[in-house]
């Protein structure tokens, strides 16, 4: 059981490493979106500090949605997806492996670059720490929920936008608690409650999302 999880994880990571193009593109999308806001809103630090959590979080959400569209499409086109449906292992486990690989390759770079971008917004050390923790807890949920949308919209014209439309309402709680945690620490309320909720959503997503995505994949790959 675990052997197959590791195999697929290793396969997707090596594939992603060998074609770095869309990795880098995804990271730069995040950087560009975050860096544009100060140009749009103005340089004084007080407002920037206020909007920083929301901006970083919305950019993270958009970046992961953008990257998710390709998660099943490549396998669908070259036929490996069919073979995944025909393995003696539960499909949900394979999807978990693919989402884990996808998160490691796209989600983690966002988390690593976020503090650097946070400096643009003059975030305090403590706020940066909480920002990283919320992103670490939140981006996997975004990938998991996005995987359901990607499975549903597999092979459809305009799949990317449709995927974002389907999945956006479902990711709102993650966005609210993610950005909220950083803001709460800034205002001294303490963001610990938010982090628990983010953790709860992550656990729920870890269990339900692969099952839903598996059902959706069986239908889309028909």
């Amino acid at each position: 059981m675990l052997d197959i999880f590791r195999t697929l994880l290793w396969r997707d990571i090596t594939l992603a490493m060998r074609s770095r193009a869309d990795l880098v593109a995804n990271l730069f999308f995040f950087i560009i979106v975050v860096s544009l806001f100060p140009l749009g809103i103005g340089p004084e630090m007080a407002t920037l500090r206020l909007i920083a959590p929301g901006v970083v979080w919305v950019a993270a959400l958009l970046a992961s949605m953008l990257a998710l569209e390709r998660i099943f499409a490549a396998d669908y086109e070259d036929g490996t997806l069919e073979q995944m449906l025909l393995t003696p292992q539960p499909l949900a486990l394979l999807i978990l492996a693919k989402v884990a690989a996808h998160w490691l390759v796209t989600g983690v770079p966002l988390v690593l670059i976020a503090p650097v971008l946070g400096l643009q917004y003059n975030l305090s050390g403590e706020m940066l720490q909480v920002l990283i923790v919320t992103l670490l807890l939140g981006t996997p949920s975004l990938s998991l929920i996005g995987a359901i949308g990607a499975a549903l919209t597999l092979g459809l014209r305009g799949g990317g936008v449709l995927n974002a439309l389907l999945v956006m309402p479902l990711t709102i709680p993650v966005l609210i608690f993610g950005a909220g945690a950083v803001e709460a620490t800034a205002s001294g309320l303490g963001g610990i409650g938010h982090l628990y909720l983010l953790g709860a959503i992550l656990l729920a997503a870890l269990f339900f999302a692969p099952l839903a995505a598996a059902a959706a994949l069986r239908i889309s790959a028909e």
Partner: protein
């Protein structure tokens, strides 16, 4: 098996459901019209003027029933989706598809009436109140469902994909509602309450309930009418539809 179970199962086949729905539509239409008239009469002529908001508060008599209805229809759609996935009956997916536009309309209406009610009270068309925001998100869920269904050509895949989206969506509704309400109270505090402060006078409650039943009857009538069209299109190659059409041609 007792007879009730048998005819319930028989009813689930489009061929028997089509005439049944046809008979129900006029009934529910009349019920809807009558209840609507009563509710309107109560809302305008019986319910007293509110001491603080004057006549403006009467919008509540449609805002609340419509908001309930938009949420309730989504849950019913998810119910039909579950039945469709478990029993693999084609009719249930058609019901979800027929309910979607009406649900989306009510979600939009609850936003529209909410905004028109908010303007005189707080001076702005849009207020990030927990309920209004949740209605907005619910509208996105409806639009997502309709967009997914229309993006897929093969009806079978569209039905099952739509059903999964509905089930995933309905599990998320409480979470979304909780997080939005929680987010709202954190930022603005509980100062702005949508409908709480007008004490619920006896006649107001009755007017609202009757309006809700009227909207319910309306929904059933419109949805049954729409589902008949969907059944015709989906089953156009079956013998019963073709005989039906031939009778139409001969007349």
């Amino acid at each position: 098996m007792n007879s009730r179970l048998i005819n319930w199962f028989k009813l689930s086949s489009p061929a028997t459901f089509y005439p049944f729905a046809g008979r129900m539509v006029p009934w529910f239409s009349w019920i809807a019209i009558i209840l609507l008239v009563i509710a309107l009469y109560l809302s305008f002529f019986v319910a007293p003027t509110d001491y603080k908001q004057g006549e403006g508060y009467r919008i509540i008599f449609i805002h609340v029933p419509v908001a309930w209805m938009s949420m309730f229809i989504y849950v019913i759609m998810a119910g039909w989706a579950a039945v469709g996935l478990v029993y693999n009956t084609r009719l249930s997916a058609m019901m979800s598809e027929a309910l979607a536009p009406t649900g989306a309309m009510f979600a939009f209406l609850s936003l529209w009436t909410g905004a028109l009610w908010g303007k005189p009270m707080w001076g702005t068309w849009w207020v990030w109140d927990a309920r209004l925001t949740s209605s907005l998100i619910l509208l996105f869920l409806y639009i997502g469902f309709i967009a997914l269904k229309s993006a897929i050509e093969d009806p079978r895949r569209a039905d099952r994909a739509g059903a999964i989206l509905l089930l995933v969506g309905v599990i998320n509704i409480p979470i979304i509602y909780f997080s939005v309400r929680w987010w709202n109270t954190l930022h603005q505090g509980a100062t702005i309450k949508m409908s709480g402060q007008t004490s619920m006078d006896e006649t107001m409650l009755i007017a609202m309930l009757i309006m809700t039943f009227a909207v319910w009857a309306y929904t059933i009538a419109v949805v049954l009418l729409r589902v008949r069209t969907i059944i015709l299109e989906r089953e156009r190659d079956t013998t019963w539809v073709r005989t039906l059409l031939q009778e139409g041609n001969r007349r």
